[in-house]
Subunit: 380 residues, 2 copies
Amino acid sequence: MTENEQYPGLGLVETSTIAVWKEGLLLESGVTFGPITLAYETYGTLNEKKDNAILVCHALSGGAHAAGWLPGQRKPGWWDIMIGPGKAFDTDRYFVISPNVIGSCYGSSGPSSIDPGTGKPYGPRFPVVTVNDMVKAEVPLLDHLGVEKLLCVTGGSMGGMLALQWAVAYPRRVRSAIAIATTHRHSPQQIAFNEVARQSVMADPAWNKGDYYGAEGPRLGLAVARMVGHLTYLSDLGMERKFGRRLRNRERYGYDFSLDFEVESYLRYQGQSFVERFDANSMLYITKALDYFDLAGGHESLTDAFRGNHSLFLLIAFSSDWLYPPQQLKDVAKAIRRSGGEATYYEISSDYGHDAFLLEYQKQEPLVASFLRRVQEAAP
Amino acid sequence: MTENEQYPGLGLVETSTIAVWKEGLLLESGVTFGPITLAYETYGTLNEKKDNAILVCHALSGGAHAAGWLPGQRKPGWWDIMIGPGKAFDTDRYFVISPNVIGSCYGSSGPSSIDPGTGKPYGPRFPVVTVNDMVKAEVPLLDHLGVEKLLCVTGGSMGGMLALQWAVAYPRRVRSAIAIATTHRHSPQQIAFNEVARQSVMADPAWNKGDYYGAEGPRLGLAVARMVGHLTYLSDLGMERKFGRRLRNRERYGYDFSLDFEVESYLRYQGQSFVERFDANSMLYITKALDYFDLAGGHESLTDAFRGNHSLFLLIAFSSDWLYPPQQLKDVAKAIRRSGGEATYYEISSDYGHDAFLLEYQKQEPLVASFLRRVQEAAP
């Protein structure tokens, strides 16, 4: 087997890190924090005009490893299906940059990072960060890579929030934004789901108020929290098609509290596997950032947030996504148009619920590819 | 203040208990269990013809105390708004019977009851019961009260499942059924929500595999489980109207993990107050009964379950109820009609989500009152 066959698409990639904000970044909370480490990957090549860079922003549990293969791993990056030679984000044409957000646990500064002041993990002493802070933290990375203006910033779910925030906070550095399956701010229902997930972690005695590094940590609480998340990622119809009321390895009900239904088994698996790969405190910090996010924050209105903005917007929602219902992104499109800007909005019909943004690549690919060409052809 | 002013409506009521199934009840699981204690209340008077009895079935966290006042309590029963002199279930005309289901913790046999064999609470040794078992267990109560045939059996949410199960399992003892905000069986999404709630309790070390009586019990896990439930009781729009993104006692975000938003505070309160009044094992047993429930169980189809059934049905769903979406009860209405039976289906427009069945009494009252009169006037 050649390396190309073993690692199709981008082949082997690597994750880099960079220290930024050495003098400290003034966070929205008023706290100054730094230096900040950012983990990131890049795919493709920056052209001579330096106008083909695309910034990819990940969702809650994602990281810098968006595409290609890390040595020894059996799965490619989380958006490999969209990023690579000949794919929607065509690495033969574009230079793709994929950083890990601060607050996360995949190489960028977060609660599980070592506090240089104490030599121990920050834990609950890590400052609360917002989506705006995550975006700000990444600005020096663009400078470092020599990218003055992004051809596009994109992402789904939380990544979509970052994409929108980039366009609103740094309009002169963003030619276009593609925001997928996302919202301009959380409704109380969306906050409620996050709060229950947080409470589940914090109810686990092993959370120990956030100081659990070196010990087992809140494995049980985090697994339940992830199950709460998964409730919102699938649609009712999608679950019906995927599981129905099928029993798991059984002829009849067990009449006990072990697993009867396939959907129970699926949820428990999702919860348990998340525990192996994600830090509980990062889940707390990132969900809180999502709840605080308000694209209109500091502006008179959502429309006002886009006023004078010359970025082009592509907004994609999925019909059965009830975590971020299409209406919320439709409201963003309306606000952009009212402000005098240009937004293309698509609602893709899908049964996959919120998960569709990672699954329905065939429906997204032509929209993304043609939008990017249009942006390239437009005057910068 | 007279007693009438202090205790409006039905005034003071009392809860009775009765021992039934002294030789044991054969449960759906194959286990024989008995004797069984049932707690129940009655309101109004059984008439001479004994044809004015209405059986009221409660929801997950309800009990026998459906209406009137228990001494010393500051709130009347859970459906007092619908039961009493001149109300929808008019106690001047009807004899209302309200038992507590088995598996619960409000006086009927359940996991927190004392096992006469050991002198200790059953805990996890209590047998798993189904909705069908809950219904069967109540049959001797009707015999004891001298009620051969019910004028009506009614309930909302889980109570609606019991009402439908009563009509299907005992068609000759049921002249009519009113099922509100309910379903004929759980979809995988509904099972998933229940499973996450159960996992939350079982993840709490204080659950101790169900043997926690005498100790504190899984207070934290049960609170989170109740929050998961509450996520499904309210609609998105209802939450928007009730809470929006309003902050709690704050001018700005706290940038920490204490309560920022009102919806967070509401959820935490709901979780904590539930812990004071409900048994964690009962929550496990009852949610499992809901998940096992299948009205078509043992029949070729849902239509087949109603074949030859002469009961009259009133089915009421609420537009914003996403826990039990109107379509599910509409499917029940269709099945009844296909079987040759008579069903009246209403979808009430409401923003209250699933909670509407306890709140929208003004919209339900005329439907219920006129339906009951029609049943009374029809040939028995």
